[in-house]
C-alpha cells in the first residue's frame, strides 16, 4: 500500500508540473503560500463524512429537523476545519537551517528555525523517517530539531522536508514540501581499531597538565588567581597587586598527523585512520596538527580545532 502510494507520488511528481515545481532547490527563507499547500481529507475525515451522510439520511428519513440542523452544523464545522488546516500552514516561514556535527552512519542533528506572525499549533515536519511536531506563538519563532540519517562523509544535501498538519480536528491533512538549498557536512567515520600514531612510551613524559614552575614574569592580579601566587613584595612597590606568572612548559605532546605517513592504505582507509587519530588526540587533550594534500592545519586543540580538522577530512575528494 505504502509502496504503491510512493510510486504514484513519484510518477505524479515526474508528470505533473504543478507538483514538481517545488522539486527545485529553494534558497532560505522559504515562506509557505497558497500555491504550494496541498490539502486532502484524512482517512478519519472520509469516515467522519460518511457518518455525517448516514446521520443526514436518517434525519431526513425520520423528518427530524433538529437532528438535521445539528448534522449540518457538524458538517459545516468540518468544512471550516479544512480552512483552519490550510491556515495553519499558510504564511509559515522556514528562516534558518543549522546543522550539527556527525560522523557518517550516525544521524546528524538539524535545527530548523520557523517563524510566523500568527500562533500555530500541531505542525509536523517529516524528514526521512523522522517526524517532529512543534507549535509557534504569534510573532515568535521556534527551533525544531530533527535527526537526519547519514551514510557517507562529505557534503550531503538536505532531503525534502514535508511540513504537514491535521490541525484542528484531524479531518484534513494539509502539507507542503520544502527543499531548502543547503547541504550539511558529514564527517568521516573513524576506523574502529588500528595502530596509534606514536608509540605509547613516546609521550608518557609529557603528561603533566599543571602549571610550570619557572617564574616567567609578573603580571596584574586577576580575580581568581590563587593567593599564594601573589608577589607580595613586588606588589608593595606598586599601586596594584602583582601576581607571579609561571610559564607553561610544553606539557602536551605535539601530534603531527600526516597523510603522507600512511602508505599502503587506500584513500578512505587513510581518512578513517586520520579521523580516529583526531578523535584520540582530542579526547586525550593533545595538541595536534594535520597535513592533507589539499590542506594543512597548524597545531592546536579544542573542539573548534577538532571540527576544522574533521571538516577538512570530510571534504577530501
Amino acid at each position: 500500500m505504502r509502496g504503491t502510494l510512493q510510486r504514484v507520488q513519484t510518477w505524479a511528481e515526474r508528470r505533473l508540473p504543478a507538483l514538481t515545481r517545488y522539486r527545485r532547490l529553494e534558497s532560505l527563507p522559504i515562506e509557505l503560500h497558497r500555491r504550494r499547500i496541498y490539502i486532502v481529507p484524512t482517512g478519519f475525515g472520509i469516515g467522519f463524512s460518511l457518518l455525517l451522510l448516514v446521520m443526514m439520511v436518517g434525519a431526513l428519513n425520520y423528518a427530524n429537523n433538529a437532528a438535521l440542523l445539528l448534522t449540518c452544523l457538524l458538517g459545516a464545522a468540518s468544512a471550516a476545519s479544512m480552512l483552519v488546516a490550510f491556515r495553519s500552514l499558510d504564511g509559515l516561514r522556514l528562516s534558518h537551517v543549522r546543522a550539527g556535527h556527525a560522523v557518517a552512519g550516525q544521524p546528524i542533528e538539524l535545527m530548523l528555525e520557523f517563524d510566523s506572525h500568527r500562533g500555530r499549533s500541531a505542525i509536523r515536519v517529516d524528514a526521512g523517517h523522522d517526524s517532529t511536531a512543534f507549535a509557534i506563538d504569534a510573532g515568535g519563532s521556534t527551533q525544531v530539531k530533527i535527526a537526519l540519517p547519514t551514510v557517507r562523509r562529505g557534503w550531503q544535501p538536505l532531503p525534502r522536508l514535508r511540513l504537514w498538519s491535521s490541525w484542528p480536528l484531524g479531518l484534513f491533512r494539509a502539507w507542503s514540501w520544502l527543499y531548502p538549498e543547503q547541504s550539511v557536512l558529514v564527517w568521516p567515520q573513524p576506523e574502529t581499531a588500528g595502530p596509534p600514531p606514536y608509540a605509547a612510551a613516546d609521550d608518557a613524559r609529557h603528561m603533566r597538565l599543571h602549571q610550570g614552575d619557572e617564574l616567567a614574569a609578573l603580571r596584574d592580579y586577576r580575580a581568581g588567581d590563587p593567593q599564594r601566587h601573589i608577589a607580595w613584595k613586588a606588589s608593595a612597590r606598586h599601586t596594584n597587586l602583582l601576581v607571579k606568572d609561571f610559564e607553561q612548559p610544553q606539557s602536551r605532546p605535539q601530534w603531527q598527523l600526516d597523510w603522507r605517513q600512511l602508505h599502503g592504505l587506500d584513500h578512505e582507509a587513510r581518512i578513517a585512520r586520520l579521523a580516529r587519530w583526531l578523535g584520540e588526540a582530542q579526547s586525550q587533550r593533545h595538541n595536534y596538527s594535520l597535513w592533507l594534500p589539499s590542506n594543512e592545519i597548524a597545531s592546536g586543540n579544542g573542539p573548534l580545532h577538532y571540527a576544522r580538522c574533521m571538516s577538512a577530512l570530510a571534504c577530501m575528494p
Partner: protein
C-alpha cells in the same frame, strides 16, 4: 569503506493517547450517557455510569486496554440486558440503549488516537440519536453543547499545542461551530426534504397523554396537570373572546355507568350546520399519536388529509405522529342538526340500566315540574350546580358504584369531567338528548406572538343538549360552579391546587417563553417539504422543486466556500508600520525596476534609487533621512512623524526612469 545503513528508526509520534485526550473523551461519553439517562432503564444507566467511572479511574492509574475476558462478558451482558428489558434490539429505545452501552464499552479498549476518533464519531451519532426523543429547542441546544467536548477531544489528539486551560479547550470548538453556523443554516434550508420516508418511520413507543377516546373518572387528572403545549392557534382576525374558545375533539354518546366513550361512525354524513359567525384560523398541534384534530367549536369542513365525521368531529387519515399544522374555518354561532332522527334521539337518551337511581328520580322530578320546557330543566341543573354546595377541585373524593348519585348527593366535589358527566346523565334522565364533548377550552393569548397557546392542562369536558328548533346547544356545567374556568382558564380555576412548579408567576414566565418554543417548532421542527418548496415565494418563485434546491445549495455553498477561502487567504499586515511603509515604497520602486537586493540596507537601496531617478533625488533623499531618523533615532518613533512619513510614501509617485 565504511558504508553503514542507518538503523530503522521508530516513529516519534506516540501511539498511546495522553491523559488529557482520554479525559475529554470520557467527558464526551459521560455527556452522552447523561443525555440518554432518562430513556434508559435506571439500572442500566447506573451500571453504565459505574463502568465509565471505573475505566476513567483505571486509565489514570495505568494505561492499557482492558483484557478481553473482562470485555466480552460485558458485551454479552449488555445485549442480554437490552433484550430482557425491551424484548428486541431493534427499534428506537432498544437501539439507543445498545448504542450508548457499546459506546461505553468502546471506552474500555480505547488506547490509540484511532480508537479515540472512532469513539468520538460514535458519540456524535449517539448525541444526534437523543434528538429522536425530543427535538425541542432546549434539547437541541443541550445536544449542541455536547459537541464541544467532542471537538475538544479531537483537538487534544493533535501534538504540540499551547498548554491547555479550560478556556483553550472548549472555546475554539465553540468558535468553530459559530463560524460554521451560517453555512449550516443555509444547508438546513436547502437540503431537499424527503416527501416520503425511505424506510419505516419510527413507531411511537411511549403513549403520550392527551385527550383519549374515552373519559374515565381518573383519566383526566393526569391531563389537567400536564402543562406541555398541546397546540398553538393563530386566528385570521381578532381572536374570539375567552368564553367562546372551545376546541372540540371527541363527542361521546356512550355511557356505561363509569366512563364515557367515543364511537367512530364512519359512514354517517356530518350533521347539518347553519353557520352564522365564521372564524378562520390555523392550528399547529403537537404529536398526539391519535387521529383526532381538535377544532374551534363547529368546523365547516375538514382540512386536507382529514375527514369530517358524523358529529362534526375531524379525524385525520393518519395518526398525528409528527407536529402538524392545519388551517380550518369554524362557526362560533350556529344551529347544528335542527332535526334529530329517532335513532340519534334514542342514542342521546340511552343510559345503562340499574345505575344512579337518585339521579334518575331527580331528572324525572324536574320533567314533571317544568313540563315540556327543556330550557328550564337545563337552567334548573345549572342552578343546582351553582347553588347546591358544589366545589371545584382537582383532587375529588372517589366515587362508588352509582357514581353520579355519589357525586350529586354526597361528595359534591369534582372538576369538569364530573360536572359534564353528571349534567349529561341528568338531562338524559329528564328526557333531553344530551352528550359529552371533550376538547380544550381557553388557552393563553400571547400578545407578542399573536397566537393562542393551548396546553394539555386546558383539556376540558362539557355537554351538548338538543333543544327543539335550536339543535345542539353547548352547555358548560363547570362554568356554573366555577366561572373562572371558562373566563380565565384552567390554572385560575385550579387556584392553589397545583404543584409549586405550576404556580402563577412561573406559569406566566413559561407562557412568555412559549413564544420561543413556537418559533422553534414552526421554523425548525415544522420546516417540511411544503414549507421548503414555498421558500422562495417572497422572491417570486412559487414552487421550488428538488433540482432547483440542489442547484441553489451548490451555488450558495460555493459562495460560502469563497468567503471562507477569502478569510483563509487573508494575511493581515501585522507588526511595524514603519517597515510596512518602507515596503510600500519598495513596491513602487520595484515596479520601475529598482528592486531591493536581499543584502541591501535601506540607506544603500534608497541612495541607489536616488541615483537611478535623478528627477526625484531630493524626494528620495528626504524619505531616506526620515526613515533612518524614525528607525534609529528613537526607541519608539513619534506617531505624528510616522504618520507624515507614511503619507509622503503614499503620495510618492515614480515619474520617470532614466537608467
Amino acid at each position: 569503506m565504511h558504508a553503514m545503513t542507518p538503523p530503522p528508526r521508530k516513529s516519534r509520534v506516540a501511539s498511546v493517547v495522553d491523559t488529557r485526550a482520554f479525559d475529554l473523551l470520557s467527558l464526551t461519553i459521560a455527556f452522552v450517557l447523561g443525555l440518554h439517562a432518562m430513556h434508559l432503564p435506571w439500572w442500566l444507566g447506573i451500571a453504565l455510569a459505574l463502568i465509565l467511572g471505573w475505566r476513567w479511574w483505571q486509565r489514570r492509574q495505568r494505561t492499557g486496554r482492558v483484557p478481553r475476558w473482562f470485555k466480552l462478558p460485558l458485551l454479552v451482558l449488555l445485549v442480554l440486558a437490552v433484550i430482557a428489558h425491551y424484548g428486541s434490539i431493534f427499534g428506537r429505545a432498544p437501539g439507543v440503549a445498545l448504542a450508548v452501552g457499546l459506546l461505553i464499552l468502546k471506552l474500555l479498549e480505547t488506547e490509540s488516537a484511532r480508537d479515540v476518533r472512532v469513539g468520538i464519531s460514535f458519540a456524535c451519532f449517539a448525541l444526534m440519536a437523543a434528538l429522536l426523543f425530543d427535538q425541542g429547542l432546549i434539547a437541541t441546544l443541550v445536544v449542541a453543547l455536547g459537541l464541544l467536548p467532542a471537538l475538544a477531544t479531537l483537538r487534544a489528539l493533535e501534538p504540540a499545542q499551547a498548554p491547555a486551560t479550560l478556556q483553550r479547550t472548549l472555546l475554539p470548538g465553540l468558535g468553530l461551530l459559530l463560524s460554521a453556523l451560517p453555512l449550516a443554516l443555509l444547508a438546513f434550508l436547502l437540503v431537499p426534504r424527503l416527501s416520503s420516508p425511505l424506510w419505516g418511520a419510527p413507531s411511537p413507543n411511549e403513549a403520550r397523554t392527551g385527550l383519549s377516546e374515552s373519559m374515565s373518572p381518573s383519566g383526566f387528572t393526569d391531563l389537567l396537570t400536564d402543562d406541555r403545549p398541546a397546540m398553538r392557534v393563530s386566528f385570521d382576525g381578532a381572536p374570539p373572546p375567552a368564553n367562546l374558545r372551545y376546541f372540540r375533539a371527541y363527542v361521546m354518546w356512550n355511557y356505561d355507568g363509569s366512563s364515557w366513550s367515543y364511537a367512530d361512525v364512519v359512514n354517517h354524513a356530518p350533521a347539518e350546520l347553519k353557520a352564522i359567525g365564521i372564524v378562520g384560523y390555523r392550528i399547529s398541534m403537537e404529536p398526539t399519536h391519535q387521529h383526532v384534530l381538535p377544532m374551534l367549536d363547529m368546523p365547516l369542513g375538514a382540512p386536507t388529509g382529514a375527514t369530517l365525521r358524523a358529529d362534526r368531529v375531524v379525524m385525520a387519515d393518519k395518526a398525528v405522529n409528527d407536529p402538524l399544522t392545519y388551517t380550518a374555518q369554524s362557526a362560533i354561532q350556529y344551529r347544528l342538526q335542527p332535526e334529530l332522527g329517532v335513532r340519534a334521539r334514542n342514542l342521546g337518551l340511552s343510559l345503562p340500566v340499574g345505575f344512579n337511581p337518585r339521579t334518575l328520580a331527580l331528572g324525572q322530578q324536574w320533567r314533571q315540574r317544568y313540563g315540556s320546557d327543556d330550557a328550564a330543566i337545563v337552567q334548573a341543573a345549572l342552578t343546582l350546580f351553582h347553588d347546591g354546595g358544589f366545589r371545584y377541585t382537582l383532587a375529588p373524593a372517589p366515587l362508588g358504584h352509582d357514581a353520579m348519585d355519589d357525586f350529586l348527593f354526597n361528595t359534591r366535589e369534582g372538576f369538569c369531567e364530573h360536572y359534564s358527566s353528571a349534567f349529561t346523565v341528568l338531562m338524559r334522565d329528564a328526557g333531553i338528548p344530551a352528550r359529552v364533548v371533550t376538547g380544550y377550552q381557553g388557552g393563553y393569548w400571547s400578545k407578542y406572538g399573536n397566537y393562542l397557546l393551548v396546553r394539555y392542562s386546558d383539556a376540558h369536558a362539557w355537554s351538548e343538549v338538543w333543544l327543539a328548533e335550536r339543535g345542539w346547544v353547548r352547555v358548560d356545567p363547570t362554568a356554573a360552579v366555577r366561572p373562572q374556568r371558562v373566563s380565565l382558564g384552567a390554572a385560575a380555576a385550579a387556584d392553589g391546587q397545583l404543584p409549586w412548579y405550576e404556580s402563577r408567576w412561573l406559569q406566566s414566565l413559561r407562557n412568555h417563553w412559549d413564544i420561543v418554543n413556537r418559533w422553534w417548532g414552526q421554523g425548525v421542527i415544522g420546516f417540511d417539504t411544503l414549507r421548503q418548496h414555498g421558500l422562495l415565494t417572497p422572491f417570486g418563485i412559487r414552487d421550488v422543486d428538488t433540482a432547483t434546491l440542489g442547484v441553489l445549495l451548490a451555488i450558495s455553498s460555493m459562495l460560502f466556500i469563497a468567503i471562507g477561502l477569502a478569510w483563509a487567504l487573508l494575511r493581515r499586515q501585522v507588526g511595524d508600520p514603519l517597515r510596512a511603509a518602507l515596503h510600500e515604497l519598495e513596491r513602487k520602486l520595484a515596479r520601475k525596476g529598482i528592486v531591493r537586493r536581499p543584502s541591501e540596507g535601506p540607506q544603500h537601496y534608497l541612495s541607489r534609487a536616488a541615483r537611478a531617478l535623478p528627477g526625484q533625488r531630493d524626494e528620495l533623499a528626504t524619505l531616506m533621512r526620515c526613515y533612518l531618523e524614525l528607525r534609529y533615532a528613537h526607541d519608539e518613533p513619534p506617531p505624528e512623524s510616522l504618520r507624515d512619513f507614511r503619507r509622503t510614501v503614499r503620495d510618492f509617485r515614480v515619474v520617470r526612469v532614466v537608467k
